[in-house]
């Protein structure tokens, strides 16, 4: 059974059909790439999947649960976590607190216990600390737990954003241009991180990316968008050798 099933998804902004009759199926454990020229509607698809925009038509099913009309918060609780094209960290908070924000819907105590520091507070905070440190170790950020997020170097900020998304224990992870603005070394490291996340957490990942080295290196399947419509869909190799894809996007 597919983990994510999107059928006939469409949205218009005024007269512009930004996403038109979009279909996609992602199986559990897959690493799926969404590519296409600038303005093709890739990020709009992400925003539809995470409830930032509500579609005009279509159905989105996660694990057979209809999440089409739900809001961002409910969709996160249902199991989709994302990162952003322009990094959105909690800049004035420490690295570990960023991750603990992601954890806060999984480890709970009441507001009163939080204000008085009694009851479950100490135990649950300890659990959160341990869990956060476990995550930070995976992303090799455990040495910087008290650093302010804004003081991290760029590559690590990207990693922290993924760590924060993973903290919500998602079924599906959406990465919006994770390699944007990275040099070849950082990109290579990022590819390793993504591979590690898959292995460590058995995660299903959908990513938007322009870096073809990254896409052809790690994605198993691809969907190519052009002017809001699906141009081509399938195994990475086949898609990248498709003449229409070469003409519309890859060039040459």
């Amino acid at each position: 059974m597919a983990l994510l099933n999107v059928t006939n998804l469409s949205i218009s902004f005024g007269g512009l059909r930004a996403v038109d009759d979009f279909n996609m199926t992602i199986e559990k454990g897959e690493l799926y790439g969404l590519i296409g020229p600038n303005g093709a509607g890739k990020t709009t698809v992400f925003n539809l999947l995470t409830g930032v925009y509500k579609p005009n038509e279509g159905i989105i099913k996660l694990d057979d649960e209809d999440i089409t009309r739900k809001n961002t918060i409910e969709i996160n609780h249902a199991g989709i976590a994302r990162t952003f094209q322009n990094i959105r960290l909690f800049k004035q908070m420490s690295v570990i607190d960023n991750v603990k924000v992601g954890l806060s819907e999984r480890f709970k105590y009441s507001t009163l216990e939080g204000i008085l520091h009694v009851g479950r507070y100490r135990k649950v905070e300890k659990q959160m600390d341990d869990e956060a440190m476990r995550l930070l170790k995976v992303f090799d950020l455990d040495g910087e737990r008290e650093t302010l997020a804004s003081n991290l170097p760029y590559g690590k900020q990207r990693k922290l954003e993924i760590a924060r998304a993973m903290a919500t224990d998602p079924k599906l992870l959406l990465l919006d241009e994770p390699a944007a603005g990275m040099n070849p070394n950082e990109t290579k490291e990022l590819m390793e991180t993504i591979a590690l996340v898959r292995k460590e957490f058995d995660m299903t990942i959908l990513l938007i990316e322009h870096d073809m080295k990254l896409v052809s290196g790690i994605c198993e399947k691809l969907t190519v968008l052009n002017f809001g419509k699906v141009l081509c869909q399938g195994e990475t190799k086949e898609v990248l050798s498709n003449p229409e894809v070469i003409k519309a996007y890859l060039g040459g």
Partner: protein, 348 residues
């Protein structure tokens, strides 16, 4: 037990307050404090309390409110109303405790109600609307007439005569004349205790999952939503708690003076902006800084009374110097170099 850095920081904050309290007590008992100075102590505590409340709203939640004196006003009037009614029937301690609970309860209620429309706005718009609500609260209270006699309560918004009280009836709230003769239940010690409680509530909140959610919303609400944080709920929570603490400051205020009036001097937007000045100069998001700034900036103009003409000149120079010391990157760098990491201002 291992004490982490945040706990240590908080303990230092409580320690400063307690040490200041003891110092002042010693000075007072050895007769080193003039009666003028003694009169300034309680206002100092309630300004520190409301600065802490406002910093929760401005520094932790990240929403600029300039109507917090409105919540203080509500806390002051509801608690004074209660104390006045039960002055003869309840013993002092219990009466003040109940008045305190009622004061913060009503302030929290109004914080919640006003928060519903206000927190839909952002930035400057939010500031303007909070300012308006603060003024509305003050002006409406100025038109309230409540009295009681053998037939029960009478209410009017026109004049005292319209209450139609029996000859032996008693006017509790007399319009712009306010509430007369509230019992003096809140002294310096009570003020310090309430300040410590407020500090504990805010500092503990910051180090809990609710506090982190609130700061996450401040830093990036889109990412907070995508992390499953219920933005509306946590904004309301922070705003309501902030209003409640402002109400607590109001309770202290009203139980320290003889005649409580909803005057512009104490509850108008000028007062709200003055408290915002305390918060900004103490460091936005820095709770300890708010307390220190509130105490210094409240006492300073009073202590400078002797200098008469130059008073406001010196006051404004101090404001400018504090602003530079706390905010200029070059000065912060220099401060760190010279004093190591003693850092007066630390972002939480």
């Amino acid at each position: 037990m291992r004490i982490d850095k945040k706990t240590k920081d908080n303990l230092i904050t409580y320690g400063i307050v307690v040490a200041a309290f003891l110092l002042i007590q010693v000075l007072a008992s050895t007769g080193h404090l003039s009666s003028h100075m003694k009169g300034l102590l309680v206002p100092m505590t309630y300004y520190a309390i409301i600065a802490v409340a406002l910093n929760l709203c401005v520094g932790i939640l990240g929403e600029l409110s300039i109507g917090h004196c409105g919540f203080m006003c509500i806390g002051a009037f509801t608690s004074a109303f209660f104390s006045k009614l039960t002055e003869e029937t309840l013993p002092g301690g219990l009466r003040f405790f109940l008045a305190f609970v009622i004061g913060i309860g009503f302030a929290a209620l109004f914080g919640f109600l006003i928060g519903i429309p206000v927190l839909r706005l952002k930035g400057d718009y939010l500031a303007i609307v909070t300012l308006a609500f603060g003024e509305i609260i003050k002006n409406v209270l100025n038109a309230f007439y409540i009295g009681y006699d053998s037939k029960g309560f009478h209410f009017s918004m026109k004049s005292q005569m319209d209450l139609g009280l029996e000859p032996d009836g008693d006017t509790v709230i007399n319009g712009a004349m306010g509430i007369m003769g509230t019992p003096h239940d809140a002294g310096f010690t009570v003020g310090i205790i309430v300040l410590l409680i407020s500090l504990m509530v805010v500092l503990n909140l910051i180090n809990s999952r609710d506090g982190r959610a609130i700061m996450a919303i401040r830093d990036n609400y889109i990412a907070a939503e995508a992390s499953g944080i219920n933005v509306t709920r946590y904004k309301m929570m922070a705003f309501t708690i902030s209003a409640a603490i402002a109400g607590a400051a109001g309770v202290i205020y009203s139980h320290n003076i003889t005649t409580l009036t909803a005057s512009s001097q104490y509850f108008g937007y000028n007062a709200s902006i003055m408290i915002l000045v305390y918060v900004v100069l103490g460091g936005i998001g820095n709770i300890r800084g708010s307390v220190i700034a509130a105490c210094i900036l409240y006492l300073l103009p009073e202590l400078l009374r002797g200098l008469n003409k130059y008073r406001m000149l010196i006051y404004s120079i101090v404001l400018i110097v504090m602003m530079i010391v706390n905010w200029s990157p070059k000065v912060i760098e220099w401060r760190k170099r010279t004093f190591g990491n003693l850092g007066i201002k630390k972002k939480i």
